[in-house]
């Protein structure tokens, strides 16, 4: 690790002001950023911590949706959305281990947009609205490929609003070592419309499987996607799975998500 300074603002204005300076970077739970700094792959001069800003922490239900502060830890999402949005709660409850869940945040996960992370699938399938101190994005506009998002320099996520679906399920097939998603599929159904988001599988990061969405919007049963073919092309290849295997898992997990959606 190289030397760095830490700022801990307690309100959004101070955070924005600090982040307008050069060589600053947001830190939330540090579960991704700290290991990167320890291996000397990142060297920010000043870290601006979001965890002292109370207004972007916590889970608040409102009419038909739930809004989660960006600095809310995975453990709090898991506990506080259990009855409100069980699929989201179980996703959060299965991220990493207790140490990771007690520090890592939803905002950090979405901003990082790791191609194998879980939350991006929830945001995309759940048609979430991602708000920053400056503006608001639909999930469809937010994720732009591996580790890339629409966020600009100095911009940070403040909260995420998830419409509550009628039914949903997240199916995560764990990579044996990291236990991130080798493939993960999040399915939601709201007013008959189905959205299917896939993480872990594509070389372009999280994406919507539109053919399945259409088929399942017509007929929300596993059988409805039986004839669809998931191409291996463009899928991630690594020591844990071939492109064909990942493509296969996309379909299997989508089927399981449909079976278990509630």
């Amino acid at each position: 690790m190289y030397d760095f300074a830490v700022e801990r603002p307690t309100n959004l204005d101070d955070a924005s002001r600090l982040l307008a300076k050069d060589e600053t970077q947001v830190i939330a739970g540090g579960q991704t950023l700290i290991p990167t700094m320890k291996s000397r792959l990142a060297s920010p001069k000043t870290l601006v911590s979001l965890t002292g800003i109370d207004e972007i922490k916590g889970v608040s239900p409102s009419q038909g949706s739930v809004t989660i502060g960006a600095a809310t830890r995975h453990v709090d999402v898991a506990n506080e959305t259990r009855t409100l949005y069980p699929a989201l709660a179980s996703l959060a409850a299965n991220i990493g281990d207790p140490a990771v869940r007690n520090r890592g945040t939803i905002g950090g996960s979405l901003a990082n947009n790791d191609p194998s992370a879980c939350y991006p699938a929830a945001a995309l399938a759940g048609d979430a609205e991602i708000k920053t101190q400056e503006r608001s994005y639909s999930a469809d506009d937010f994720f732009c490929g591996l580790f890339e998002t629409a966020l600009s320099e100095g911009e940070f996520i403040t909260e995420i609003r998830f419409p509550i679906p009628d039914r949903a399920s997240y199916q995560k097939f764990e990579q044996p070592a990291s236990r991130f998603a080798l493939v993960g599929v999040f399915v939601t159904q709201k007013s008959g419309q189905v959205r299917v988001a896939v993480t872990g599988a594509s070389e372009e990061g999280v994406y919507r499987w539109k053919e399945a969405e259409q088929a399942l919007s017509d007929d929300f049963r596993r059988e409805a996607i039986a004839d669809l073919i998931v191409p291996a092309e463009g899928k991630i290849v690594d020591i844990h799975g071939s492109a064909a295997y990942r493509a296969h898992l996309v379909k299997v997990l989508t089927g399981r998500a449909v079976d278990s959606a509630h």
Binding site: M1, F173, P176, S242
Partner: protein, 789 residues
């Protein structure tokens, strides 16, 4: 009635109090006044010529004390290999130089190029980034076949990548070939024993210190055998005589073989401390451990088993490529030969066996002993090919094994691969296994799995290991460059408590509990009156350390012998105190008695008399009560057992769940059943790691793809089933005085084939009978792919 102390009692592990309360004292906890820190600049390419190293800028860093490169070690010896193997043609193996810091060439990712000593570890690392190294990258050779097939040379001066071509027993080769040619049935299997990264919880650490007032060097290090390190490093590398060199291995957080070997970092820290007149400390990062700790296994094998129509074994022939990596680590050469070929008879009568091993240099981390060392590789091939043969011949897998077992009345049994098994009862362990694994209930469980859409399978296997390493004269003939005895000193204190000093080393095995149990049993005094001292060459007798499941069998026997000497002397003192003849003195339960009289004297009084010799036969007997014994075993010991595993396979994803695991072991007599349970549990967990999860994978350029826990899968608690372990079948070892056989490696040796056999069985029962083998680890992806083809 279970005993509550002494031999056979499940005494609680006393060392756990300090481990579990964070009071262990590991090497990294040792800080010497004024110490400096070293950071190693390591090669990030697998193969290359070092054109230049420019340290000028780095040396100017204000915190840097000195930067060392290969040139500084030009006059220093290289790291030695401890075992010389002779090849099929009577020629010695090829033995390349193994410099402390790379000289001229780098040969694997992680090879140290320069060592930066600075005031702090962070500054040493900062300075390392200022060193400019110009390396001309050369094509790397990773695949063993390519290495033998005209691939780039790892060591140009050797003119070959073949370390040795070993035949065992060479004289039997033609007969074996002929028998296989005319056999009614031959089952053949090609398999890989996957390369593993040892991953001890504690990374390696070394602190070199130097005391100029008496010219003594001290090395604190994470080692399983401090005396061996002192011998190798002192004599072969740095030319420091033993009386000027002390090696201390304090609490060690797991070794599994990887901390047997003498590593460059140990020699460096000792050397640099002498040069700089300051202590020098190195603590490996986890990333560094992945690319510097000697890896394990990595064999590619073809095995053929010839049988008659009734499934009786006629002959076995194997051909193995064994990866040595880029250099010969300390015991690397013995693992695929004497610790592997000699085990190919397993638990069976097979009249003819021939083993061929080609050891190969590649641009990868050196490979050496890892829990089981050679014996897991032997067991895996044999037990997999037997399963395959049973399937081909339509014989039940238990039945085919029973048909070929060495029978109880055949012991001592001389195998065709040079070992003589002293005792065993393989039908008894198989009977026990059938009981504890509830094999009768399998069909019910199969039906339950089926109703959930899962494929269930049952896998079985037997294993034998040769451990309790080893008779020194025998291993000397086989090429070992060291003896393999063990030593013990018993120091009885004036008030009767006892300090036991052993050359064995405990790094998780529980010796501090179990060794005193042996002494307690013999002296009849409480266990808490006895403590064990180990790990420091300054206060323990020369011993060979802990590996090869040898500590209780060899080290425990040395303790027994030393205790016998103590008792013999104490009897003489007691005889004097009771005015009797020593021949008439009996000793039991801590009291000396004159046979046939009511005269008695307590242990503590005899001890006191030895040290306060006012009433003492001083003209005939020295005062004091302290004895040393060295024990050199007459033979290896032969623990054996039968294991069973049940799995469920999800045919949609290829994911395997291990539902249950049962182990019936014969370890001979048992000192502490609870500690033995723990050793078996841990060994099985490690075997599950190898069979299901772990794999060191290199890309073709020699980069370790599974070089962190993001990609190298270690077993976690929820990967493990609940295990039933039983060691009530006991055929005591006949040649050591304790009757013990050792249990440290059994679980890791015996479990992988049971797991793979179970998965193949599940697939076969589920309609995928074309799948006759899947290489480990049985990841979901591999199992799914096997089902697809």
């Amino acid at each position: 009635m279970p005993k509550d102390f002494g031999f056979g009692a499940s005494s609680k592990r006393r060392e756990d109090v300090r481990f579990l309360t964070g009071n262990g004292r590991y090497t990294d906890d040792i800080n010497v006044y004024g110490q400096a820190y070293v950071h190693f600049l390591r090669s990030d390419v697998a193969h290359g010529t070092i054109k230049s190293i420019n340290t000028e800028r780095a040396a100017a860093h204000p915190a840097v004390l000195r930067i060392f490169t290969g040139a500084d070690f030009a006059s220093v010896g290289g790291l030695p290999c401890g075992w010389q193997v002779t090849d099929r043609f009577g020629e010695p193996m090829k033995e390349p130089a193994h410099p402390v810091l790379a000289q001229g060439k780098v040969r694997h990712v992680g090879d140290p190029i320069a060592a930066i000593v600075a005031e702090s570890a962070a500054e040493a690392r900062d300075a390392a980034e200022m060193i400019e190294v110009d390396i001309e990258e050369l094509p790397a050779v990773i695949d063993m076949r390519a290495a033998l097939d005209g691939g780039p040379l790892v060591h140009d001066d050797l003119e070959t990548n073949l370390c040795y071509d070993w035949g065992f027993i060479e004289d039997n080769k033609d007969e074996v070939d002929a028998a296989i040619k005319k056999a009614p049935h031959v089952t053949r299997l090609d398999l890989t024993n996957n390369r593993l990264v040892p991953n001890a919880m504690e990374p390696r650490v070394a602190v070199g210190d130097y005391n100029s007032s008496n010219d003594e060097s001290i090395l604190y290090t994470t080692s399983q055998n401090p005396h061996v390190i002192r011998l190798l490093m002192g004599a072969f590398v740095l030319s420091i005589p033993e009386h000027k060199l002390r090696v201390v291995a304090p609490d060690v957080g797991g070794g599994f073989g990887s901390k047997i070997f003498h590593y460059a970092e140990e020699a460096f820290c000792t050397f640099a401390a002498r040069e700089l007149k300051r202590a020098v400390k190195w603590t490996a990062s986890r990333s560094e451990s992945f690319i510097t700790d000697a890896h394990g296994r990595d064999h590619v094998t073809t095995i053929e088993l010839a049988l008659d129509h009734d499934g009786n074994f006629i002959a076995i022939r194997t051909s193995t490529l064994a990866n040595m990596g880029a250099y010969l680590s300390t015991f690397s050469t013995s693992v695929p030969t004497w610790l592997h070929g000699t085990l190919m008879a397993g638990n069976y009568v097979t009249p003819l066996i021939y083993v061929n091993v080609k050891a190969v240099f590649t641009n990868t981390v050196p490979v050496d002993a890892y829990r089981g060392a050679g014996r897991p590789e032997a067991t895996f091939q044999l037990e997999r090919v037997i399963d395959k043969a049973a399937r081909e011949l339509g014989i039940d897998p238990i039945e085919i094994r029973r048909r070929n077992f060495i029978a109880k009345d055949q012991f001592p049994y001389a195998t065709p691969v040079a070992l003589e098994y002293d005792t065993g009862d393989y039908h008894a362990t198989m009977d026990k296994l059938e009981e504890i694994a509830d094999l009768k209930g399998f069909d019910n469980r199969l039906a339950q799995s089926k109703s959930k859409g899962k494929l269930r399978g049952l896998g079985l296997n037997c294993y034998i290991e040769a451990c309790g390493l080893a008779p020194s004269n025998l291993v000397g003939q086989l090429g070992a460059r060291a003896g393999l005895y063990e030593s013990a000193t018993l120091r009885v204190n004036a008030t009767g408590s006892v300090t036991v000093m052993t050359g064995s080393h405990s790094h998780g095995q529980g010796h501090e509990t179990t060794f005193p149990q042996v002494v307690s049993e013999m002296l009849g005094i409480a266990e808490d009156q006895i403590n064990l001292q180990h790990g420091d060459t300054a206060n323990t007798p020369m011993g060979m350390g802990t590996y090869g499941s040898r500590s209780i069998a060899v080290g425990g026997s040395a303790i027994l012998r030393a205790t016998e000497k103590i008792i013999a002397k104490a009897k003489k003192i007691a005889a004097h105190l009771m005015e009797a003849s020593a021949d008439d003195v009996e000793f039991s339960d801590g009291t000396f008695r004159v046979a046939g009289t009511d005269k008695e004297v307590a242990w503590a009084d005899v001890c006191l008399a030895a040290y306060v010799p006012h009433n003492y036969p001083l003209t005939e007997l020295e005062p004091g009560l302290e004895e040393t014994a060295f024990y050199d075993p007459a033979n290896f010991t032969y623990p054996a057992g039968a294991y069973a595993c049940e799995v469920e396979v999800d045919p949609e994803t290829g994911k395997v769940d291990i539902c249950s695991f049962a182990a019936a072991d014969d370890f001979g007599r048992i000192v502490n059943p609870m500690v033995v349970d723990g050793q078996v549990h841990g060994g099985i967990a490690q075997g599950i790691g190898q069979a299901m999860l772990e794999s060191a994978i290199y890309d073709e350029d020699g980069q370790l793809l599974s070089g962190s826990y993001m990609d190298y899968a270690m077993p976690r608690a929820d990967d493990l089933p609940s295990m039933v372990v039983d060691h009530s079948c006991q055929t005591p070892c006949t040649h050591n005085p304790l009757g013990v056989k050792g249990c440290g490696e059994a679980g890791a040796i015996g479990s992988p084939p049971a797991i793979v056999n179970a998965v193949i069985d599940a697939l076969s029962r589920g309609g995928y009978s074309h799948v006759d083998h899947i290489d480990m680890p049985l990841s979901p992806h591999r199992v799914w792919e096997a089902i697809q083809t």
